[in-house]
C-alpha cells in the first residue's frame, strides 16, 4: 500500500498557527502584567506572570521549530480495500484503523490559514468520534473524500 504524506506546506501553517497563538498569549500576559502593575494586585501574581512569560519562550521554540517537523515526518495515511490507516503523533506515535464500513461521513474543512495555501483538512467520522487529516492540497483532499464516500456506499453500513 502506498503511504501518503501531508502537503509539506503544513509545516509552515503549523508554524504560523503557533506564532499566532503565542502572540495572543504574550499579549494577554503583557496586559495582565500591566494591570497587576497599575492597580497593584498581589505581588505573587506578578511573579506568576513573569514565570508564565518565561515558559512561553521555550514553548514557542518547541511548537514552532521542532514539533511541526516531527509531526510532519510521523504522519502518513494509506487506503486499503477495507480500511484507512492513519499514523500520527509527536511523542506518542499512534496508528488508527478505520474500516470503511464504520464510516458515517467524510467532510472537508478549510480555515483562513489553509485557504491561503489552497489546502483542505479531511475529517472522517464514525459513530464513535472523528479523526482528521490536517492538510492536503485541494485536489488530493477532494479525491480522497470522494474515494472514501464511494467506498462507504459499497461496504454495507451496519445499522447501529
Amino acid at each position: 500500500m502506498q503511504k501518503k504524506q501531508l502537503n509539506s506546506t503544513v509545516v509552515t501553517i503549523w508554524f504560523q498557527r503557533a506564532t499566532i497563538t503565542h502572540l495572543i498569549l504574550a499579549l494577554l500576559i503583557a496586559l495582565a502584567f500591566l494591570c497587576a502593575d497599575q492597580f497593584s494586585w498581589y505581588a505573587w501574581l506578578r511573579w506568576l506572570l513573569i514565570g508564565l512569560a518565561l515558559l512561553c519562550l521555550p514553548s514557542y521554540l518547541l511548537s514552532c521549530w521542532i514539533i511541526p517537523k516531527i509531526r510532519y515526518h510521523t504522519f502518513f495515511y494509506t487506503i486499503r480495500s477495507e480500511d484507512i490507516l492513519i499514523q500520527e503523533g509527536v511523542f506518542v506515535v499512534r496508528q488508527i484503523v478505520i474500516p470503511f464500513s464504520r464510516v458515517q461521513n467524510v467532510s472537508t474543512g478549510q480555515g483562513p490559514l489553509l485557504r491561503r495555501h489552497q489546502l483542505l483538512s479531511v475529517a472522517i467520522t464514525t459513530a464513535a468520534g472523528s479523526h482528521e487529516i490536517p492538510a492536503l492540497d485541494e485536489h488530493e483532499a477532494e479525491t480522497l473524500r470522494d474515494q472514501i464516500s464511494v467506498l462507504i456506499k459499497e461496504g454495507a453500513n451496519r445499522e447501529l
Binding site: R80, E82, D83, G89, F91, V92, V93, R94, Q95, I96, V97, I98, R102, T126, A127, A128, G129, H131, R158, E159, L160
Partner: protein
C-alpha cells in the same frame, strides 16, 4: 396512517414563555428604559413587541406539524428557517414521556425521542401533548409499553422467549458477596461523625470502662457482631436493589425488571448490544461469582444511565457465565483465557504512580515530622496497584476481543470485531525502547466508549492489529 397533527394549543403559551425567558434581560432593560421616557409611542412599541412575541409563538405552533406513517415520522417546523425532517422508526432508540411544572398545571406532557446520532443532533422533542396523544404516538412508533409487553407475552406463550429470575438463595449470595458491605461501613462512619457530638460524654466512656474488664474473646465477639450487622445491612440493600429481578428475553427485545422499593423496568434490543462486561467484586471473585452487564448503543429508557450499561445478570457462578452468554447472546460467549502483561510492562505501568507518590511522600517527609509515616502508605498503594495491573489481560479469539482491567472490581470486557468502530495502537518513545505498545478500541454505546490495554508486548499488539485488519 395519520394526517398532519399539531401540538396542543397550550404550546403557544409555553413557546411565549420560552421566548420571554430567553429575552428576559433585554425586556427588563426595555421596561426600565421605557419607564424613563414613558409616552404613548413607548406604549405602542411595547404593545407591538408583545404582539410580535405572541404572533411568533402562534406561527411556530402553526408551522410545527408531525405525522406518522408506517415506516417513519415526519416533522415540519420553523417560521423563518423551515425544517423538514423524516426520521425512520427503526432509527429511534428510545422514547420518553416527561412533564414539568408548567405542563403539569394543564395535565399535559412532552415526548422526547432520540436516534443513534450524537446527543445534540439526535434529540427530538414534541413539546406539548395531551397524555393520551403522547401514548398514541409512543404506540405508533412501536415503543408503546402495552405493545411491547404484549409482544413479549405472546413470545413467552409460544415459547420463543425465556425468563430468568433469581432464587432466594441467589439473592442471598449476591447480598453476602456484594460491595454494599463497604458502603454500609462507610455510611456508618459518616453517620457516626455527624452524631458523635450529640452523644453524652459518659456513654463514650462506657465501652472503655467495660473493656477494661473483659477478655480478648469478648472483643472478638463484639467485632464479629458488628461485622454481622453490617453484613445484614448489605444483604438488605442488595435485596432492595435486585429483588424481583426478572429478565424476559425474546429474539427481538429484552425486558429487565428489578428492585423492590425503587423499581426499574428497562427494555433493550439485543441486536443493539455492542459489548458485554463481566464484573467481579473482590468478595465475588474469592467465591467464584460474577455479574454480567450489557453495553447498548443508543440510550436505554433511563436518562441516568449515560453509558448504556445495563445489568443483565446480577449474580452467576463464573464458570457458568460463558454458558449463560452462549444461551442468550452467543455473539459474546467466549472462554476467558487471557494473556497477561509482560513483566516489564507491569514495571513500566507502576513507574508513573511510583514516581508521583514518591515525590509527594518526600515532600511530606521534608516538611512535616509525621511525613515519614507516609512511606508505608505509598508501599501499600504500590503493592495494591501491582496486583491490579497484574490482573489486566487481553485476548482475541476468532471474531471476539477481550480486555480485562481492575480498579477495585475486576472487569472483563468482551466485544466483537464488527462492533469496533476504530482501532488505535500507539507507542511512546520510552515504550519503543522497552518494546511495549498500547492498544485502544472505540465502540459506540450510549456515548463513545474507549477501552484500552496498556503496555503489552509490541509483537502481541501487532497480532491484535492484524486481527482487526484481517477480513
Amino acid at each position: 396512517m395519520s394526517s398532519k397533527r399539531r401540538l396542543h394549543p397550550i404550546a403557544i403559551f409555553s413557546e411565549v414563555l420560552r421566548t420571554v425567558r430567553q429575552f428576559v434581560l433585554p425586556i427588563l432593560f426595555g421596561i426600565w428604559f421605557g419607564s424613563q421616557h414613558a409616552d404613548s409611542h413607548q406604549l405602542l412599541l411595547d404593545l407591538l413587541l408583545t404582539l410580535v412575541v405572541i404572533g411568533y409563538g402562534f406561527l411556530k405552533w402553526l408551522r410545527f406539524t408531525y405525522s406518522i406513517d408506517a415506516t417513519q415520522i415526519h416533522l415540519e417546523s420553523g417560521v423563518l428557517f423551515r425544517k423538514d425532517q423524516y426520521i425512520k422508526k427503526s432509527r429511534i432508540q428510545s422514547i420518553q414521556i416527561e412533564t414539568n411544572i408548567i405542563l403539569r398545571l394543564f395535565g399535559l406532557v412532552q415526548l422526547k425521542f432520540d436516534t443513534a446520532e450524537p446527543a445534540k443532533l439526535g434529540d427530538h422533542t414534541l413539546r406539548v401533548l395531551s397524555l393520551h396523544e403522547a401514548e398514541r404516538i409512543k404506540n405508533a412508533l412501536g415503543h408503546g409499553e402495552r405493545q411491547l409487553v404484549e409482544s413479549i407475552a405472546s413470545d413467552l406463550a409460544t415459547g420463543q422467549a425465556k425468563t430468568y429470575t433469581l432464587s432466594a438463595k441467589d439473592i442471598l449470595i449476591a447480598g453476602m458477596l456484594s460491595s454494599n458491605i463497604g458502603i454500609a461501613i462507610a455510611g456508618a462512619f459518616a453517620i457516626w461523625s455527624q452524631i458523635a457530638d450529640y452523644v453524652p460524654k459518659r456513654w463514650l466512656r462506657l465501652p472503655e470502662q467495660i473493656t477494661r474488664h473483659v477478655s480478648l474473646a469478648v472483643w472478638v465477639e463484639l467485632i464479629l457482631i458488628l461485622v454481622l450487622i453490617f453484613w445484614a445491612i448489605a444483604i438488605l440493600t442488595t435485596f432492595l436493589q435486585i429483588g424481583g429481578f426478572k429478565l424476559t428475553a425474546s429474539a427481538a427485545k429484552w425486558r429487565i425488571e428489578k428492585g423492590i422499593i425503587q423499581t426499574s423496568d428497562k427494555t433493550i434490543r439485543p441486536d443493539r448490544i455492542q459489548a458485554v462486561h463481566i464484573k467481579e467484586h473482590i468478595l465475588q471473585q474469592l467465591f467464584g461469582y460474577c455479574s454480567i452487564y450489557a453495553e447498548c448503543s443508543g440510550r436505554v429508557d433511563d436518562p441516568t444511565n449515560e453509558h448504556g450499561s445495563v445489568l443483565i445478570m446480577p449474580i452467576i457462578k463464573k464458570k457458568k457465565a460463558a454458558e449463560w452468554l452462549a444461551d442468550r447472546c452467543p455473539e459474546f460467549s467466549v472462554p476467558l483465557a487471557l494473556r497477561p502483561l509482560p513483566f516489564r510492562g507491569v514495571l513500566y505501568a507502576l513507574s508513573f504512580p511510583a514516581i508521583f507518590l514518591s515525590i509527594i511522600s518526600a515532600a511530606l517527609h521534608f516538611f512535616f515530622p509525621w511525613g515519614r509515616f507516609s512511606w508505608p502508605v505509598v508501599l501499600i498503594i504500590l503493592l495494591y496497584l501491582s496486583v491490579a495491573i497484574r490482573s489486566t489481560g487481553f485476548s482475541s479469539q476468532s471474531e471476539k476481543l477481550i480486555f480485562r482491567e481492575r480498579i477495585i472490581a475486576r472487569t472483563t470486557w468482551i466485544t466483537t470485531k464488527n462492533h469496533i468502530q476504530t482501532f488505535i495502537w500507539e507507542q511512546s518513545w520510552i515504550q519503543r525502547l522497552l518494546n511495549l505498545c498500547s492498544c485502544k478500541v472505540t465502540i459506540r454505546a450510549g456515548g463513545r466508549v474507549v477501552r484500552q490495554i496498556r503496555h503489552i508486548d509490541t509483537h502481541d499488539a501487532a497480532l491484535l492489529f492484524h486481527w482487526f485488519r484481517a477480513k
